[in-house]
Symmetry: C2
Subunit: 290 residues, 2 copies
């Protein structure tokens, strides 16, 4: 059994992430205006959650998506940066007083606490614009058609039928206990859509075929939902109304996450060795304990 | 003297706008999800300022930009819709309580008054994503390279170095009297960048040369600043600290707008007859009295 498949999996994933972090961090550092550039509060607010980096899970999925179809992390780099910019914008806006009203994220003040509410709204807006600008700027390295399709996929994943619509329904669900179907519909749009788009867009920039993209899309969707269940299991006891743990109980939720993971892995069985990092990242995301 | 150049100008412009409004309105109607589609409050909020239509000044500039280089309004339609979506998102977020805190726009409740603050933030976010998604969806009709460059230009115009940065500095200026340079820097980024991008992206989708694009970019910048001065002249007496009327007085501000218009028109003299609509729209925007 290869180490990716064994109990050593989390160690290997951490190596994979550690190897590729400098690539995405350096690119983001170049894309996002420096904090010293006026308007300094706006640019500081844009950088606040982006640096220092966390695991950069979505960029890693973009890299692994490219590698799964025979490409390299470098091929996927513009998509990797864009998904991280979109993810960061969504965290900033979700934390706003009119949304989840959170004062802390990853142990640090949220952007509106550190820079004020107007700068938090504007920083999110600017990160969203920058996600598309920086992807379009990759034109010299990537064929224009793959780039347009990646932009379309990412914008669709970020829009009212996916991420933003999921957040709207999540806010609406606050206070009510939601059904299993309602919870999964929110998680599909709020979490799984961008996770799926990360993998698909990474693979697109590496020249994936339509058949490969369809398989990766299905994989990303299942892994995205399972990832959200893993998050909810870690938050158990917080009594989130829009959580599969609340709707089903912890044991059934864990079983559902494992089923989704198995289904996801089966869907990309034909990718063979090239998809080992993608499989390992998925297992890591679903089985993590912190 | 052709009627575009005469005192009949505003009448002709109104005909031009009236002729082309159905094109952009029908396309926007198709692009933006119906208000009945869940989440209904989110989709209602996205449509609130978008329908019924105003003059659609930026889409008209995109059309006129395409016509100026020998294309048609249809060539520019995807860019025309995207600039209107970006403009509408910026109005929704600018009106928020943490920004300008406006309760009314065009005589109707602002989006956060009508749909709540969370839906207003999310509706703006979703319109911004939709601007790029719908432009990327035009791939079948437009060459992919022009599309990528149009996406890049629009995203740059919407980002922290242009529109969002201008809004951040505009908020910062509240309370202080700004210098002429500070005022024009805000207006260049907050207003002129998107007006310039409207014309340039319309022309891009109609196959404009780099030389033509450079001339149209300069034209759009000058007209955009002059347009903002015209706005400030109409708002005279409101004592906006970030206004050329406040900084220079009404007469000098009007003279500056006229100088910018002359400079703009001179810069596209070589476009001849094809740019008549563009010239007329610029004159109309700068000399309007309401």
């Amino acid at each position: 059994m290869a180490s990716w498949e064994s109990d050593q999996v989390s160690l290997d994933v951490q190596d994979y992430i550690k190897d590729r972090l400098p690539l995405v961090d350096a690119a983001l550092e170049k894309i996002v205006p420096p904090a010293e550039e006026p308007p300094t509060a706006l640019h500081g607010a844009m950088r606040h959650l982006l640096f220092p980096s966390g695991k950069r899970f979505r960029p890693m999925l973009a890299f692994a998506g490219a590698e799964a179809v025979g490409g390299t992390a470098s091929d996927a780099l513009p998509a990797a940066c864009s998904v991280e910019l979109i993810h960061t914008y969504s965290l900033i806006h979700d934390d706003l007083p009119c949304m989840d009203d959170d004062a802390l994220r990853r142990g640090r003040p949220t952007v509106h606490i550190a820079y004020g509410e107007a700068n938090a709204v504007l920083a999110g807006d600017a990160l969203l614009a920058l996600a598309y600008e920086s992807l379009a700027e990759a034109l010299t390295d990537t064929g224009p058609e793959a780039l347009v399709l990646a932009i379309r996929d990412l914008a669709h994943a970020a829009g009212s039928r996916q991420l933003v619509g999921g957040q709207a329904d999540d806010l609406d669900a606050a206070g009510d206990d939601s059904s299993v179907e309602q919870v999964e519909s929110v998680h599909a749009r709020k979490t799984a859509a961008l996770i799926g788009a990360s993998i698909v867009c990474g693979a697109r920039l590496a020249g994936a075929s339509d058949e490969q993209l369809a398989a990766l899309h299905g994989f990303g969707y299942d892994v995205g939902i399972a990832f959200q269940i893993a998050d909810d299991l870690l938050d158990e006891g917080e009594d989130d109304p829009c959580s599969l743990v609340t709707a089903l109980g912890a044991d059934a939720a864990r079983a559902r996450a494992n089923d989704l993971l198995d289904e996801a892995l089966e869907g990309i069985a034909s990718f063979g060795e090239a998809a080992k990092p993608l499989r390992a990242l998925a297992r890591f995301a679903v089985k993590r304990t912190q």
